[in-house]
Amino acid sequence: MYADYAYLIVALPVLAFLLCLFIGGHLPRGGGFITVLATLGAFIVSYGIFSETYPHEIVHQSMHWFAEFNVGILIDPLALVMLLMVSFVVTLIHIYGNGYMNGDPGADRYFAEAALFSASMLGLVFADNLLQLFIFWELVGLCSYLLIGFWYRKPSAAAAAKKAFLTTRVGDVLFLAGIILLYNNLASLDLALKPGEYLLQFPVIYANIAAIPGDQLTLIALGLLGGAVGKSGQFPLHVWLPDAMEGPTTVSAMIHAATMVTAGVYLVARMFPLFYAAPHGLTAVAAVGAFTALFAATMGLTAFDIKRVLAFSTVSQLGFMMAGLGVGAAVGAMAVGVSMFHLIGHSFFKALLFLCAGSVIHAVNTNDLREMGGVGKYMKWTMFTMLIGSLSLAGFPMFTGFFTKDEIILIAYEYGTMINFLPYIFLVVAAILTAIYTFRMWFSVFTGKERSNYGKHESPWVMLGPLVILAVFAAGFGVATQSEFYEYLDSNFEHYDLDFAELGIIGGHVLEEGHGAAEEDHAAAEGEHAGEEEHHLPWYIHYLPIVIAIGGILIAGLFYWDKIKKFDPSQVTGDKDPLRQTLLKGYYQHEILTGWFAETLVYGTALICNMIDIKLVDGWLNWLSSWVMGFAGHVRKVQTGIVQNYVTALVLGVVVLVVVIALAMKAMEVGLV
């Protein structure tokens, strides 16, 4: 019965968007309660669908749109966990936003845009075809632009918004190219589509992957990966994410946890069969993900802005998710479950961390870690909830991050034994760094002495309430749902007409693995949990993540916690240390990307193009028009302004006409014509 109202999941937030946009200014707090109610409604509908369909049904509705395209709703396990997470987290963020944005003159605009943001993300998730997904994908991009640049009078915010928009646009072009390629390939197959089936629908795509040539599949996969890289802030298109901090903290929380960056991972998960079948498709995903995970973690170590630390951590954790999908080359569709589990868990604790950071910033009025310290004395609730979020992010045993992240590391090891150990090594190092930078941040903020004179008060309960709820999930989600989650997600692709063994042969995975992996993939796809696979992993691989997490926290404590402080960071690396400088400047990305790439290369090319445009393209046009002008200059002398001349011309004209007509009639009489 809830499935009949599935459209409400998007319709309610869209309605909230319209209401806030037009009458929000006349309501208390910019009509924020409308947005909260709308997303809450979306969550209720999603949960209703979940309770109806769990664990073995999917919802698929579709109607004709135009030509060969349709609009439709496809809610399978993969989409459903996303819908539940997005609507739940976003609702909490909106509640928090009611406190955080209180008093901002643009609150109605904020809540309108936030509602649209939620609507587009929810629409992206339950789209049943790639085209519809792409449309919502673009809407998400637009909303992120509007919200990052929410305080548009601040030049840095406007610049960050532009940067986010343009950078993700690069990925979106690749994504669109991938869609077009996929469409062309499917169209050239001359499929006999049943009524109600359309080319770009996911079930149709899944069923026909095997018929598309391998090299085309790789191209399509790379195009889609490009889109995912842009949206999910993977290297080299990650540059916009740290800058996206310019928006209100709630926006950062939404972008980083629920509504934007997860879209890229979701896309790869959604198209996982295609990536699996494409030779090198998953290798590229694994390479991008593992590299980004480590790369961003190192930058997180040195950032001083509390939100930037969290931003780099998001980039890094997204790298983990991508890598988790990428190593699916070794473990098959199980990777989707593992990666999505981290995505959901991450969105809980990252939303929590961002909202905590927002709470701290709200009270302290600075983003700079160097100016905080000792905040814990004044903000007990924020301190404890943030501790839970940090422990979860660091992967401390029994917290959500422990279950989600470590599972990725384990399957990366699996991948290592079969194909290549590089992703595993990258991820392990990144995991150590994660623990270190997370607790560097936590210790810097809440422990020690006050390093500046800041505001000392706890945030209001409208802000703390969501923190507590999120903290419960950040702590308990992993342990509570672990096995059910994997089983549920593993069953996702069973609803479709596809065979991972066959796809694996196209993708060349069977040969590389060499020990009957096809059956294993199949077994995994059928929901037999990977427990048996874990048996043959050595015991130290199992316990390594625990050691990593606790070790990382200890290292951070030795440097930054005044109770056990043994070292001063400046002893290890001086300010002039080249490595420290490199990290602090984010690997000179600004210098390379803005200074060299944008200002030298792109601007130089633009200058040359401009010259060609002026000299060549405009040149011949200007020559033509000046010739016309010159000719007209002579002809216009006919206009003497003397009436008699005109009359003469008129009479002469009539005479000529008469003569011509007379001659013509004569000729007709004689029969010449």
Binding site: K637, G641, I642, Q644, V647, T648
Partner: protein, 100 residues
């Protein structure tokens, strides 16, 4: 009964005089008069043909034409008066603001 040829001759003479005046004269009023000559030469033709082969259509047209000429003269003189107010002359050689 006057032969038709004479009417046509008269009309042709009037038309030629009118045309000549239109092309050569510079005074606005004279131009108006020349235009009247042109119109009336046509009227003479209409009436003459109408009388020679009994058919009143031609005379009806002549009446229309006269009415038209009256209207045209009204507009024309109004323009001339406006021109005079603006330039202080109706010598058309001096009124050539619309030239190139």
């Amino acid at each position: 009964m006057i032969p038709l040829e004479l009417y046509i001759l008269l009309a042709s003479a009037m038309f030629t005089i009118g045309l000549y005046g239109l092309v050569t004269q510079k005074n606005g009023i004279k131009l108006m008069m020349c235009i009247e000559l042109l119109l009336n030469s046509a009227n003479i033709n209409l009436v003459a043909f109408s009388a020679s082969q009994p058919n009143v259509n031609g005379q009806v047209f002549a009446l229309f034409s006269i009415a038209l000429a009256a209207a045209e003269a009204g507009v024309g003189f109004a323009i001339l008066i406006a021109l005079y107010r603006l330039y202080g002359t109706i010598d058309l050689d001096n009124i050539n603001a619309m030239r190139w």
